[in-house]
Symmetry: C2
Subunit: 352 residues, 2 copies
């Protein structure tokens, strides 16, 4: 294979930031993840569908446009307020399909079980996965189960891959944002990450912290019912809204200006973030999308979103600008501006 | 959800053989795996594509017939004679698509990395995965990377899911075997399992033990060039030829009679099996198929297979019979008969 780099004697080059081994940050959805993708995977697996760097590949098979995506779930703990690894594995893949505008149809489920996992836990998790699939209208049509020795896994890891049907006239993609576009978020941010942290850290607040894990394809269908002209759509998982906006800013070569005061954040989430020294913009969501929409359609899209149970708190949080392309800035409450940078590494390990 | 069993208070029933926790055997491809599938997954995920219990689902999307499959790879060691976890992850999924008669088109790659994995190993493995995909003519179009803490994984686990295009007139399935059909195996058996064991156990023979890991879609295309009337096709991975034949016997309600003397086995594999007390019929292959073919087409199919580099040692090893439906028997070298039962649990843990 003379036409590609020789990784047989692979030595981590500077673009991989000189890490000789994998660190947790390589799974963060931040800059270290992007390094792996851009400097290792994309050159090796060179093809147009992958190079689009969207959450899913859009494929043409015999004239049918299909979305195809995969996600592995390693969340810790396996059960958390608002969900578990089973429902999360469905919602994550359904949402990665839906943000291309696809109707999610079929998913696969690959289980890696650790020897010693209580059968009761496996029963609860697979039941939750099955119920979430039914509720989202997708069929689990194929699967695989592997078992690893005790100490070589962590209870259960689940991979789901999904197939969806993309309408022929849609071209939602990471490079479609234009100056003047409006940034909409579909509801409160940071709920999932703080629900996970509340279990791990033993936090307790008057208002319980609950994951927002949910399937968002009906919300997105409602938005597309208003206009096909939605420029970008992403679910704001690892790395939160900040990581999504930084990626879109870079891919579309626009700037984003956020209005910090407009960010919808539950008081309990805000309190937990303050206690842990975290910025809600960087905290993972599992039931929230970020949409970049032409200003002319923003009000109508917003109105449609608020009619959907998963979009009642939808709101405009900023806009795309021609200034500072590739950068995300936020107008702070006290009148200043701050840079909302791409996170480097891991903020909350194993959040999904 | 009143229309389904309540697994919230899930207690492992007798059909799950009273194991309160997951044991290695649940990942074996044998009877314990079948228990999980038949008593937990199939009832929960109830749908016709899954219930077919083939290695892949065959889906109709807008009139296009697609094969869809998934496999997680947890092989230990990561590198072995004849391959590594990267090439194996491609071959396994390509072959699961191909045995439906599909042309493999696209695969996904989901990586679960353990903190501390040398970047050099990741580079070698992903390069091997990319090269195997190119050689098999499939594109890696979507992916995902997660990192787990040191001690909660084992270097790298890879999930691949795949999509292939199934010709409209093919109906190869596990329940299609008929009495009188001939059993063909595409080459020597037990090579992959014994190559893995040779590394684990430090075996050394004059002839090296090398995995047969290979993509078999061109071999299968050559067979289908002779006749569309191939009844069953399986790649004989976990549980070996014995597990495949037991599954086909049960699903098709036929018996199988093997001619033990006809089994193609390399001397080094035979020697290793004897040393370890293993039966080559139960040892995993990663580059061999079992085909159940009407007698009228057997010679032509065999001739076509032997023209393909992956089928030069193809041979007839027995036939389907009306007697003892659901059971596999073997005519032994000394004139007797023995039962070739479904393996219960794990013969060779983490073989793929």
């Amino acid at each position: 294979m003379t036409d590609q780099p020789n990784f047989q004697g692979f030595v981590c080059p500077m673009p991989l930031r000189d890490y000789p081994t994998i660190v947790l940050g390589h799974g963060s959805g931040g800059r270290l993840s992007a390094d792996l993708i851009q400097h290792l995977f994309v050159p090796l697996f060179d093809n147009p569908a992958l190079s689009g760097l969207n959450d899913q590949a859009v494929l043409d098979i015999n004239g049918t446009r299909l979305a195809f995506t995969t996600d592995s779930f390693v969340v810790n703990p396996l059960f958390f307020p608002g969900g578990d690894i089973g429902s999360l594995a469905v919602h994550g893949t359904v949402n990665d399909l839906a943000v291309s505008g696809a109707q999610p149809l079929f998913i696969s489920a690959g289980f890696i079980l650790e020897e010693g996992l209580p059968m009761n836990d496996l029963g609860r998790i697979t039941t939750s996965l099955a119920n979430a699939a039914k509720a989202a209208g997708v069929q689990v049509v194929t699967g695989d189960t592997k078992v690893v020795n005790k100490g070589n896994g962590d209870g259960i890891f689940i991979n789901t891959a999904g197939i969806g049907l993309v309408p022929p006239d849609l071209h939602i993609a990471a490079d479609q944002a234009r100056p003047g576009d409006v940034i909409i978020v579909s509801g409160t941010i940071g709920d999932h990450g703080m629900a996970i942290m509340s279990v791990r850290e033993g936090l307790s607040f008057e208002t319980e912290l609950v994951s927002d894990s949910a399937p968002l394809h009906t919300l997105i269908a409602d938005m597309l019912g208003v206009t096909r002209e939605i420029h970008c759509l992403r679910d704001a998982t690892r790395g939160g809204v900040a990581a999504v906006l930084n990626e879109l800013a870079e891919r579309s070569n626009v700037g984003f200006m956020l209005d910090e005061a407009a960010l919808p954040i539950r008081p309990a989430v805000m309190a937990a973030c303050e206690m842990l020294g975290m910025d809600p913009l960087y905290v993972a969501n599992e039931g929230k999308i970020v949409a970049i929409v032409p200003e002319a359609h923003a009000d109508a899209v917003l109105a449609a979103m608020r009619q959907n149970p998963y979009g009642v708190d939808a709101t405009i949080i900023g806009r795309a600008v021609a200034d500072h392309p590739g950068m995300v800035l936020a107008q702070t409450g006290i009148g200043g501006r701050r840079v909302v940078d791409m996170p480097l590494g891991e903020i909350l390990p194993r959040i999904c």
